[in-house]
């Protein structure tokens, strides 16, 4: 579904590449964690999939298509096939929950009847039944993220990209979000989630792709993630022993 072929992304010639020689393939229906500390290249990875940026070298394939060959007027069509969720939710504060979700359908020209039918369905999937008419500020962070997920999947994309979706949430709420993402994955959507939350990664036991300083350092099925702090903690006793 997503394939990186020796991809390098350089934003600034004078600093190290944001991504360096990344080759990875994520199949249809996969659930993959993209882990690494801040600045490791997770967000750049997501931007390249969305064609927000061009790869400096190498090729990015989405649904079998090299995104470099997609003309700019076809980019919206590429993006309709990809849902995106962010750490900061990005809801429209002056629209209700239902209107926020419906917005994603309106702007690509879905008919009113289809919208009326689909929105409650999707809200149910993310566990927000009966909250259609609430405003975003009346919801908890976890609920707001569920709205954002509902908006991301309402047009039934084949891929869901989540960039630190639990970054602003407490652990319990995060697990709730994870179960929503898991359910969406069960329905056949490929999910790629960038995170540095090792608790979640270790709990889920899904594929882990680890980036460090723009390089791919690990790609394991059912992997765990040892965060930077844990690594340090693990290293400390050895140092004191010497």
């Amino acid at each position: 579904m997503i394939r990186f072929d020796q991809v390098t992304k350089i934003y600034d010639q004078n600093s190290r590449p944001a991504l360096e020689d990344i080759s990875v393939e994520i199949d249809r229906g996969d659930f993959a964690f993209l882990v690494g500390s801040s600045g490791s290249g997770k967000s750049t990875f997501i931007r390249l999939v969305l064609k927000e940026d061009r790869a400096t070298r190498g090729a990015v394939y989405v649904a079998g298509q090299n995104v470099a060959n997609i003309p700019s007027w076809r980019v919206p069509k590429l993006r309709r096939g990809i849902g995106v969720v962010f750490q900061d939710f990005r809801l429209l504060p002056n629209k209700t929950v239902a209107a926020n979700v419906a917005f994603a359908m309106q702007v690509i020209g879905k008919s009113r009847a289809v919208i009326r039918e689909t929105v409650p369905e999707v809200l149910k999937t993310v566990g927000l039944e009966g909250k259609d008419h609430r405003m975003p500020h009346e919801l908890s962070g976890g609920e707001q993220q569920r709205v954002a997920i509902a908006r991301a999947v309402v047009n039934k994309p084949g891929i869901l990209l989540a960039d630190e979706p639990t970054g602003n949430l407490d652990p319990t709420t995060s697990m709730g979000i994870m179960s929503v993402l898991d359910r969406i994955n069960q329905n056949g959507t490929t999910v790629v989630m960038a995170t540095h939350d090792n608790v979640i990664v270790n709990e889920m036991r899904r594929r882990v792709i680890e980036l460090r300083d723009g390089r791919l350092v690990r790609d394991e099925a059912q992997g765990i993630y040892v965060g930077a702090q844990d690594r340090k903690r693990a290293a400390e006793p050895k140092q004191s022993a010497v």
Partner: protein, 304 residues
């Protein structure tokens, strides 16, 4: 559905940016009024040219007692000289340029003079023998005045050859300058309008960057994202153009058609229907101005 959505976006954009939209309306209104005024002046010039050029003549004035020019040194024109001049007019070399001609005697000249200066006390002090006789020559092509001038000014008994068109040209050149000034002001105002529209669209795009960001992510097409902004500018500019057209029509109807036409019944003025010719051009210009400037602004400030 998408149309309803776009219309809704436009309405909310206009509401959010009301003060800027009003200023765009006013600036396009003023600038297009000047553009329209220049257009109307040009139409008026053309109208007057059409009206007068049919009537203007080359006047060949003959010598009288009081003539002081060198060609009249031998005194007033004689019958023989007058006959000579008339036969020259009829000669094939000259006749090809002449549409028709008319002899104006001193009595005719006095009658015309009295008519022209009816309200002036000067009329009483003028007598027929002070006014020169003349041949009033209408030319096939008024531009060929020089030919007539060359032939007749050297003939004995001719005091001077006058091209009445010259007097009109002076009037027209004043009107042309006025319309150039109007165009100049319009140009400055149009630059203001373009910059103001660009700023307004920029603000509008900035205040709605959340929406457009989400639209981009869920794969809304470029048209759906950009159209509300472009149409916002175009609607404001078109309202300005409509106001400008209304003002021009009012001026044409009540000032030119009403007051001026009463004051100068002999002059052909443009009617208010000429505004019907200018108004569509103004609307088009306004829409184009706003469309192009917002499109260029969006290319820079609204990534799609």
């Amino acid at each position: 559905m998408r149309l309803a959505f776009i219309l809704g976006e436009i309405a909310s954009g206009l509401r959010r940016n009301l003060s800027m939209v009003v200023s765009v309306v006013l600036v396009t209104f003023i600038s297009l009024t000047f553009v329209g005024a220049a257009g109307m002046l040009q139409l008026q010039i053309n109208q007057m040219k059409g009206f007068w050029y049919d009537k203007v003549q080359v006047a060949v004035f003959l010598c009288v007692d009081t003539s002081t020019t060198a060609s009249c040194a031998s005194g007033p024109v004689t019958d023989e000289q007058r006959g000579e001049i008339e036969s020259t007019l009829k000669s094939p070399a000259v006749a090809q340029y002449v549409a028709n001609y008319q002899f104006e005697s001193q009595a005719d000249a006095l009658a015309h003079f009295k008519e022209q200066f009816a309200n002036s006390p000067i009329v009483d002090s003028v007598t027929a023998d002070q006014l020169p006789e003349s041949f009033r020559v209408s030319l096939v092509d008024p531009q060929k005045y020089e030919v007539i001038n060359e032939v007749f000014s050297s003939l004995p008994g001719v005091e001077v050859v006058v091209d009445q068109r010259e007097v009109l040209e002076r009037v027209f050149s004043v009107m042309n300058i006025a319309s150039l000034v109007a165009v100049g002001i319009a140009a400055v105002m149009i630059i203001c309008a373009i910059l103001l529209i660009a700023t307004t669209i920029r603000l509008s795009a900035f205040s709605r960057r959340r929406e457009t960001g989400i639209m981009r992510l869920v794969g809304a097409s470029k048209a759906v994202i950009q159209l509300p902004f472009i149409l916002e500018g175009v609607i404001a500019a078109v309202i300005g153009a409509v106001l400008a057209s209304l003002v021009l029509w009012t001026v044409a109807r009540f000032f030119i058609g009403g007051w001026l036409a009463d004051q100068y019944p002999d002059t052909a003025f443009i009617s208010d229907t000429s505004v019907l010719l200018i108004a569509p051009a103004l609307l088009l210009l306004g829409a184009l101005l706003a469309g192009v400037s917002s499109l260029l602004t969006l290319r820079r400030y609204l990534k799609v």
